[in-house]
Amino acid sequence: MTQTKKTALTPLSPSLRANVQAVNARFGGSSDLVVRLFRSDAAPERELGLLYIEGLVNTDVINESLLAPLMSMKLPPHMEGKSDRLMEALRTSVVSIGSVKEAAALEEGIQQMTDGWCLIFVDGNAVALMAAVGGAKERAIGIPQTQTVIRGPQRAFVEELGTNISLIRRIIRSPDLHVQTHKIGTQTHSSVAVLHLHGVADQGIVKEVYRRLAAIDLDGILESGYIEEFIQDETFTMFPTLLNSERPDSVAAGLLEGRVAVLVDGTPIALIAPTTFFSFFQSAEDYYQRYDIASFVRTIRYAAYVMSMLLPALYIAVTTFHQEMLPTTLLISLAAQREGVPFPGLVEALLMEMTFEVLREAGLRMPRAIGPAISIVGALVLGQSAVQAGIVSAGMVIVVSFTAISNFVMPENNMAATSRIIRFGIMIMAGMLGFFGIFISVLFVLIHLASLRSFGVPYMSPVAPGGKSGGLWRDVFVRVPWWAIVLRPLDMKLRNPKRQRSGRKPPAQRH
């Protein structure tokens, strides 16, 4: 699947000079293409050429494992004088590099060069020897930036695919962990690895991932977000149907549950599919800390998510339509705050919500050095002064602040973003129809959620469609102790739906 396009391959020429020229021409004379021509002691009559791209290779390896042995090599006794078998000798006994291949076509060699391989031409041979000497400078493995935990591994993916795969292999040390790498991007030739646990994951879904990946024909893949938009089931939805993670342990957990992971070279963010609505409320830490605390925190997360979606709308509805629902004292206090506020409740709320969104975006994009300045302007000037100036009421500031904070409890940023958009729609409905409007909106969202699928798995499972085994519910709204989670969570045909044998509750020990 490396090259889906069938282009005519140019065979290599026996002439070293011609080959070097061809490669050079193909790269347009790029200055980072290094061409080293030399002669070996074994066959001084034949010129050898070493080609690689600077920066993609490890020059130490080239110097020690390639150039030095090549220059000083001696032909083995049985090959004495047979300089035409030099190529074979190189491969079998000189080049001390793990991955070595031969290329007969120019394109083949060039493709490998961009991956950090070097080409060795021997004059008179129409074949190139390729050796993997990659080793560009990479960022060290760091701690997770977006999905932080207190208890649990503190390793995050980096940009390099090989490192990322190794991070997962170091967690799941099993030959059943199968990795398939695809090259996607007609220009970038980005490596995209698909990982699944053989014997656990549903083969149909694995095949479907392969199929959807093969259909991508974009010039460049810079981040897994590109892949996500190509392989998700439904484009016109505000809800993410693929889970993102920068945590190797989260991806490993997904694989153990029978999901498929997609890792893209050049980004620390991996994709996990299929996924359900409820997976977005599960933090890695839920499984590391005690189950009772994890369940409590998870419940809070659900509540906060609902709040972040509905709170401003509820405030608008209550203060402009259903004042009778408030306790009298609260009503009077709210009414006092609203004295002199020139805008209707809806406009006031929209104004404050927009202000917050702008602040948030500014906080993300601005240069780090300006951070404190923005905080002061945002918190003091906009919050306090807006109230003092009588543009918005203090209650509204509290509502907007709490809404904003509720939004940050979500372990998955893309699901949090969803509620930020939907919130505005519900606010407008609440401003026009009160609770009735909120009810319509919530119903609309629920119906939409129930219609979504992720790689064929219903998005709301196991809640809707319901009626399935209760064992699937043990890790949805709460997390039961580990010994009780017998079934894998996905409501699909897994090869092996059981994680462990049941009845593993530790017996009470009496001493």
Binding site: T320, F321, T328, I332, A335, R338, G345, M432, G434
Partner: protein, 402 residues
């Protein structure tokens, strides 16, 4: 593309609703209390509206009164309300109304129209407390009450407090009144409000800056209503008797004297913490006899008599004294209600419940038959504690010193 166009058209429909019946918080006048008076052949409706800004917020709470009182006149209630818009900048908002005060004159004229208005309109709540007032309702609404900023809410809390700690009067909501007046006896009792003190109206904020106000609103007497008209008032002690008879006493304090028969100064008191009254009607010699059984339980609060309370027999003696006192309160209450010939005690309803067929016969002339009814009282008081000391202080002093 077509779908998007349809969606856009559809969203235009939303705008057509024009925000339905939206009303902003600063477009409503929150009414905390309503008063009803009858003057010169017209209903006078008085509203006490809350001025939110004067209550909370930084702008000098306490300088200005938190409420404003204004009246409007009309041949009926709703016309009076609608006339209020001629002098109010905001829509009157009744959903948070706490109390309704009915002036004496209006109550004598009849509260039917008021109840009719309450039954028909959705924004008036039946959980509103009802009071009668000795003076005009407007005068009661104008009074400021210390501690509380909204007088309407203050009066509402006053009756709740009274009901919970002393049970001389009982909270009567519009709902209760409606249930009684639409019930079998067509009679009810509503607590009254009066202005106690010098009679000078406490209607300026600066008067609250003194340690005592010249006059204050207080609960006073119980108004008896028959049909929809006020027929008479009974005093606080009698009102308590009514509360005992109707099982509305929960917690109260009973003062009692040391001697049997209730003679002498009532120097001791017991706190009733729980009480249940059961009434059973019986027909005896063509007369109705109400078997009243009161089971009360409480503790001794103050003791001024002799005897050693460490002995159970002495306690039984005290219990008997309390029982006697309760019986005399109940009897007093019963006698005065009987005199007014208004069955606010719900005896008629009880007869209906126990003997529905008989009730159908006597229902018509129940008003005449009610005063003929007798009650047979049985009070059982149980003192569960004498407090932290045994003998009275005086008794203890008689002993040689320590």
């Amino acid at each position: 593309m077509k779908a998007i166009r349809l969606l856009l058209l559809g969203s235009l429909l939303l705008l057509q609703t024009g925000c339905w019946n939206r009303v902003e918080l600063n477009d409503i006048a929150i009414i905390s209390a309503t008063g009803v008076d009858w003057e010169n052949g017209k209903w006078v409706l008085t509203n006490q509206i809350v001025i939110p800004k004067a209550i909370s917020g930084q702008a000098g709470g306490g300088r200005t009164a938190a409420v404003n009182v204004f009246s409007s006149t009309g041949d009926n209630f709703r016309i009076a309300i609608s006339k209020a818009s001629q002098e109010s900048s905001r829509r009157l908002y009744f959903s948070h109304n706490q109390i309704v005060i009915i002036g004496q004159e209006a109550a004598r004229k009849g509260v039917g129209p008021l109840l009719e208005a309450y039954l028909r309109n959705h924004d008036s709540r039946e959980t509103v407390d009802v009071f009668l007032s000795k003076g005009t309702a407007r005068l009661m609404l104008e009074q400021l009450i210390p501690l509380e900023q909204i007088p309407g809410a203050a009066i509402q809390r006053m009756i709740v407090n009274e009901e919970m700690s002393s049970s001389s009067y009982r909270q009567m909501t519009i709902h209760h009144v409606l249930m009684d007046l639409l019930g079998h006896t067509k009679a009810t009792s509503i607590p009254g409000l009066a202005l106690a003190g010098s009679g000078e109206s406490t209607d300026r904020v600066d008067m609250l800056s003194q340690t005592s106000t010249p006059s204050k609103v207080r609960l006073s007497e119980l108004g008896l209503v028959y049909g929809d008209k006020l027929v008479g008032w009974i005093g606080e002690e009698q009102s308590k008797g009514v509360m005992w008879l109707t099982n509305h006493v929960d917690k109260t304090t009973v003062a009692f004297a040391c001697t049997a028969g209730g003679k002498g100064r009532q120097g001791s008191s017991a706190r009733v913490l729980h009480s249940v009254t059961k009434v059973k009607p019986q027909q005896q010699d063509g007369k109705w006899v109400m078997k009243v059984n009161i089971e009360a339980q409480g503790t001794l609060l103050e003791y001024d008599c002799g005897g050693d309370l460490m002995k159970p027999e002495e306690i039984w003696e005290v219990e008997r004294l309390v029982e006697e006192r309760i019986a005399s309160i109940v009897t007093d209450g019963w006698e005065v209600v009987r005199k007014h010939k208004v069955d606010v005690l719900g005896f008629g309803t009880l007869i209906y419940k126990h003997h529905p067929k008989t009730w159908k016969v006597i229902e018509r002339n129940w008003k005449e038959e009610f005063p003929q009814t007798e009650i047979e009282l049985n009070v059982n008081m149980k003192l569960s504690s004498t407090g932290m000391s045994g003998k009275s202080f005086k008794e203890a002093q008689k002993k040689p010193g320590l």
